[in-house]
Amino acid sequence: MTMSRPNYAEISVERLTKHYAKVRAVDDLSFTVHAGRVTGFLGPNGAGKTTALRMILGLVTPTSGTATIGGVRYVDMPDPIRQVGAILEASSAHRGRSARNHLRIICRAAGLPDQRADEVLAMVGLNTVGTRKFKGYSLGMKQRLGIAAAMLGDPRVLILDEPTNGLDPEGIRWMRDLLRALAAEGRTVLVSSHLLGEMQQLADDVVIIAAGRLIRQGPVAEVLGSTAGVARVRVRTPQPDQLAAALRDAQLEVTATPDGLLQVSGADAARVGHLAFTAGVELHELTGESADLERAFLDLTAGKAGAR
């Protein structure tokens, strides 16, 4: 099982829509996920991420619109397990069955050799507990088993719904390294998550949705650049009043915190440092706050979120 197929596959979602009785879970959603990159799929609770991923994987029938992977609908693939690996929130194994047997069943159905089950178990570090029953698995072990199942067919596309859920910091790091390595091999990786700090380290691109609709799609840096127009700086000084006055004179927005810290927005660290110097104010700390995905996300989805 080597990565011998050079052809890369894009995920293409076009005007995908799913109406449930009371809610438009996904509403005219279009986006593209590129090969060789990790794409973060972000949105508040109830945004429609899981529904969208399940439609891409043929588990939920769209009300309208299409989703294709490498140009083919999932349900039309003759060997989907060799094309696409998936972890979904509710994906689960029979409680009374061992992880190894769970994987072997998938191997049988997909026409893969049984020993592939042992290979992927070793890959995710479950080889010593593979014969244990699923009901005895911790959340982290279940997520690892999910990854193992996703990797059975050595797929060129990975679709993961909150795979870091329940993983400890080491597990999260392991997952991050794994997904980055898989993308570096040219695979397409689409991963949904709530952990924005985590996403910022992991993703190359993001697709942000809220209330079933696309909010923003693009490379992380671009999305950040578009929203983080207002730079923020944190300054500590023994003369907060004097500095605040000088900064306000320069049309900057300043908020003082009780411990003598000033939050300045509208300028970068260099500008604030320069203004302080001209005003003859002594500085003890000057930190530029880099734009982060969490703020961008909250800005972008403000007012559109909320459980539906």
Binding site: H94, A109, A110
Partner: protein
Amino acid sequence: MNLISAELLKLRTTSLWWIFAVSMVPLYGLALGYNWLTTSVITEMDVPDEGPFGLISMQQIVSNLYTSGQFAGVLLVLLLSAILVTNEFFHLTATATFLTTPRRELVILAKMAVAVLIAVTVWLFTTGLNLIFAPVALSSTNNESFLGESFVWQAISLNLLVHVLWALVGIGCGVLIRSQIGTTITLTVLYVVGTQIFTAVFAVLANQVDEVFMQLRVLVPTLASELLVSGPQSPEDLPRWVGAVVLLAYAGVAGVLGTLITKRRDIA
């Protein structure tokens, strides 16, 4: 073929099958004992070989003996078949199953094949034991073994047929009802007390409304099954094959309808 092998592995890798296998043993013993007892009682009453003797003929007695365990065997086949399907939803394995095989109808077909295999296995088990114990029971009651008689082999073959047909009904109902507990309870009640309840209902209907209801009785799956196994009991009863057709129709309708629904249903 891959899918059938996968389904068999699913069956083998949980404790379900041996729970069913273990419960089959005492149930079979009970059935055999009951039929043995009936044989000896009836024999002592010196029944004529042919023709009706009140409710039961010698042919009937011998057939029962050679198909001992049918009631329990069919019930277990029916439930196990249904659970093959409902398990997927109960244990949330449907996601993994349909990700591996997005053409869901193929999964249902594979499950039907496995259900038929289960039916054949259970039939082989009880028939094997019956071919040992029935002659013993018959000789212990001073009867011949009747193994040369064609009616015995007909009973044994029909026994296989009802096992298979009920297996298909089980799959169909599992697909249709989907809830593990709902399906199990519905099927058990229908199978165990359905015959009595529906016989009574149809008797009342025939009495109060129209004689034609007595003929429509065969639409009840358990009564169809009984007609298939025992043949017509009175001149106005329908022929055997009608029972087979009715059962097959149930299996077919439940299976096709269930498959169509499963194909469309959102797996979440």
